[in-house]
């Protein structure tokens, strides 16, 4: 016994065994991944899917259900992406250059990193772009060119105005030049949660110390941390301003 799925492949409806379905979607995923970087990605993949649908139709004739064997057979006819590459027409050079270009265009982008800001997040955005661990070095660089030539401040303001904020998870991935796939987005979301909880506890500490110093009630700290900070979560996206005025 086997569970079946109903799928739409290239505009044609098929009923397909669950194991065959798994196999087919794996195959199509590798195809998509292979061509994602190429020009005409959408066309290539939809054409391949349409052709596969045709092959299934030819092969099924009057059988109602696509089996794993059918899928394997059709994949053997279509070939794997490695087969396409190994074909005499592989034409490695233009392919890799177009891939490189694409990477330059959308793989990595300069953003303002709003997670680590002192003024506008320009320096931390730049350090994320170049893979520099600590934005402090970029900030130091800005300080240095400000002192030595005075171009630092206007340059910073221009960059601040020009660079977009890294707002979504995929922006932040693009900022670091990572691909936006499911696992990476998951990573970003984890980081976000960690970031938010860090900010929350920082705010909690601040409130505690303020509360503690003014009211002299240090014993109530823990209660505050748990209860009073949570409703303030909406404010933490804008980090507190002070922390050294320079960049």
């Amino acid at each position: 016994m086997n569970k079946v799925f109903n799928i739409n492949l290239g505009g044609i409806a098929f009923t397909i065994d669950s194991d065959a379905y798994e196999y087919l979607s794996n195959y199509l995923e590798t195809i998509h991944n292979h061509f994602r970087a190429s020009e005409g990605y959408e066309e290539i993949t939809t054409d391949i899917e349409a052709r596969m649908a045709e092959l299934f139709q030819e092969r099924l004739e009057n059988r109602p259900i696509v089996t794993l064997q059918d899928v394997k057979h059709v994949i053997a006819i279509m070939g794997t992406p490695e087969d396409f590459g190994a074909e005499p027409m592989g034409d490695e050079a233009p392919k890799s250059s177009s891939r490189g270009k694409w990477k330059f265009k959308t793989g990595k982008r300069l953003f303002r990193n709003t997670e680590e800001v002192v003024i506008g997040g320009v320096c931390s955005g730049i350090s994320a772009y170049f893979g520099i661990e600590d934005p402090l070095w970029v900030r130091l660089f800005f300080v240095l060119i400000t002192i030595s030539g005075g171009v630092g401040i206007p340059l910073y303001i221009i960059l601040w105005a020009v660079l977009p904020k890294a707002e979504t998870a995929s922006d932040r991935l693009a900022m670091r030049g990572e691909k936006a796939n499911v696992s990476n987005i998951g990573k970003i979301i984890e980081e976000e949660v960690a970031h938010v909880s860090k900010k929350m506890s920082e705010l909690g500490d601040e409130l505690k110390s303020e509360f503690g110093s003014k009211k002299k009630a240090p014993r109530r700290r823990t209660i505050l941390k748990e209860n009073a900070v949570l409703p303030m979560a909406g404010f933490i996206s804008e980090p507190p301003l002070p922390r050294g005025f320079m960049f």
């Binding site: 005409g40 290539i44 054409d47 279509m78 087969d83 074909e87």
Partner: protein
């Protein structure tokens, strides 16, 4: 060495049929053992199209979803002519260089 030859075949098949459905192109390429796996064709068509050598139109088919029919653009015709010239030169050159070999074979 086979670089460009598959393109040449694809372009000439399309020019021959005027409007060609990819599956028919595959059939003809397979007849002449030009391709090993069918998936090879699609990235090539996409590349030729983005180079402005091919264009396609959607046509309703009797059964199933509409189909793409590829045809050569003016540039495509020119390019094919150029390729054909290069090919003929190449064939002539190879024939010329290997004529002693083939002559020997015949003699044997």
């Amino acid at each position: 060495m086979r670089k460009g030859i598959l393109e040449l075949c694809i372009l000439s098949i399309i020019s021959d049929e005027q409007e060609a459905y990819p599956s028919d192109i595959i059939k003809r390429l397979e007849e002449s053992h030009m391709i090993v796996v069918q998936g090879t064709l699609y990235p090539l068509l996409a590349r030729l199209k983005s180079a402005g050598l091919l264009d396609y139109t959607w046509k309703e088919s009797g059964a199933g979803p509409p189909r793409k029919y590829y045809s050569l653009t003016n540039d495509g015709h020119e390019f094919l002519d150029g390729l054909m010239d290069t090919w003929n030169q190449l064939v002539a050159a190879v024939k010329h260089s290997t004529r002693s070999l083939t002559a020997n074979k015949k003699a044997k």
